[in-house]
Amino acid sequence: MTTETATATAISVTNLRKSYGDLEAVRGIDLHVSQGEVFALLGPNGAGKTTTLEILEGHRERTAGEVSVLGHDPQRNERDFKDRIGIVLQDTGVERYLTVEEVIELFRGYYPHPLPRDQIIEMVGLEEKRTSLVRRLSSGQQRRLDVAIGLAGDPDLLFLDEPTTGFDPAARRNAWEMIKGLNAAGKTVFLTTHYMEEAQYLADRVAIIARGEIVAEGAPIDLIGREAITTISFEDPGDGPPPYPVSEFATLIDGRIVIETSGPTALLYALTSWATEHSVELEGLTVAPWTLEDVYLKLTADPELEEGPEAEQ
């Protein structure tokens, strides 16, 4: 009995640090991922996302901190650890002169309990390409083959580094359903992504990393709820009608009046009463709750732009 099954912890990270020379890429982060969870690590380029991911996968050594993944220290490069994880990196090559079937067969052979080959091919939807050489696949198909290779060993924990970058909307939907299916089958999924709707749709919990630190962590719905902001917007009615009642809260963005509020009901009432009274049509009126993307943009905004250069220190 290993400890992680007793506590149902898949990944546990405490005060993780990674420096490259003088550059501190990861500045003391804590993460906890339970088994069976889909966890998304979000952050802008250069925030420390890939560094963190690669430390968890065993591709990089940390500078300081505690890391336990499936009860193993990844940087010890242990065979039983590799047996239980699947890694789908960005831009990793495959032998171009093997067929889809041959590549999957090659990688299946590395693991003690691989998934059946045909099941893998079916899961990623490459049935029609099974005898094609890798070099003849489209980039979307190659990405699906990447996922197939990650699944070959029937991993307990799957790492997905930006799994749907470059996908068209339909392919992205398919990938999402596939990841949901894997999770339903009991696999823990740790993914990074640039697409907030992807995280919002897939992840049980997300962590947002910026400048090497975790700036928010929790279920997407809680992160959005914590901000509890609604955006109301409509096209600028121009100079004609008298000023609308809430103009002190509004900003003009690209010809649209945009109001962010934590009390949308009263504000809308005031606004629509005024519009009715003056016979003004509020063209293109939208009322939208904040999305994960709004939260993300707020939390990852560069402090040097907002608070002046001394904010960084």
């Binding site: 996968e57 990793t92 002169y97 041959e102 052979g109 590395y110 693991y111």
Partner: protein, 258 residues
């Protein structure tokens, strides 16, 4: 899973991908055989002074010379190119993330390269015997085989070492060819060095290529009366092989360099 079986399986997959890759097959297999035919057409009937063993026919000179070229191209050039490309496109990193032991992966590359080298040498010797009337010596055959094995192992190690010095896959052809082509011209492979200035001979003798072609030449000389072992040359080749292993251990990288 039996690791030895995994390692042998790597050889099978290496073999399959190699023969499907037209540029690899052309440069590694076809090019040495083309050189064999061309040099024999041009110089096959000349008498060449090999100094240490007397005069031999051009064909007898070129068969062991092209055999050396074949080993170098299958082991050194092929491994340095293919491994640099696999490193920079992320194939090495991907493999590193699986349970496959690192040694089994490298074993696949090295053993496959050596098998290609053996096949090429066999073809070169057979072509020499059938079309160019070259005598295949029997008394020195053990020396010929031992020399091939030491050469193959050393040039594989040097190929791996070279990947550590190649900054990225785009630079691989320039670095690999730039390091080996000049040596092929000053090492009794393309051209007999009988008229070369002494300093060039001395310079060539620093590197393993010349010792390899000489050792193969002695072991393939029909007039050789002894066992045909060039122990001094073999020691230099092996020393370069050891250097290759040491440089590989220090500089070999599984991470792409971009």
């Amino acid at each position: 899973m039996n690791d030895v079986r995994l390692a042998l399986r790597q050889v099978v997959y290496e073999n399959r991908t190699f023969w499907r890759n037209p540029p690899a097959v052309f440069f590694t297999v076809a090019l040495p055989l083309m050189f064999l035919v061309i040099f024999n057409l041009l110089f096959g009937d000349d008498l060449i002074d090999r100094g240490f063993v007397g005069e031999v026919s051009g064909s007898t000179f070129y068969v062991p010379g092209i055999a050396a070229l074949a080993v170098i191209s299958a082991c050194y050039t092929n491994i340095a190119m293919m491994v640099s490309i696999a490193r920079d496109n992320g194939l090495l990193k991907r493999t590193r993330g699986t349970p496959l032991p690192s040694w089994a992966f490298l074993f696949g590359k090295i053993v496959h390269a050596t098998l290609v080298a053996v096949l090429l040498v066999a073809i070169v010797v057979a072509v020499g015997a059938i079309f160019y009337d070259v005598d295949v010596p029997t008394n020195t055959m053990p020396a010929f085989i031992v020399t091939l094995v030491i050469g193959a192992a050393s040039f594989c190690a040097l190929g791996l070492a070279m990947t550590g010095l190649i900054s990225n896959a785009d630079a691989a052809p320039a670095v690999v060819n730039g390091s080996i082509l000049p040596l092929l011209f000053i090492s009794d492979i393309f051209i007999p060095l009988q008229d070369a200035p002494d300093w060039l001979q001395t310079f060539g003798a620093i590197f393993p290529v010349k010792h390899f072609s000489e050792a193969l030449g002695t072991a393939f000389n029909p007039f050789e009366t002894g066992a045909g072992f060039e122990w001094g040359a073999l020691a230099v080749i092996a020393a370069w092989g050891v250097l290759g292993v040491l440089v590989s251990l220090r500089y070999f990288s599984w991470e792409p360099r971009k």
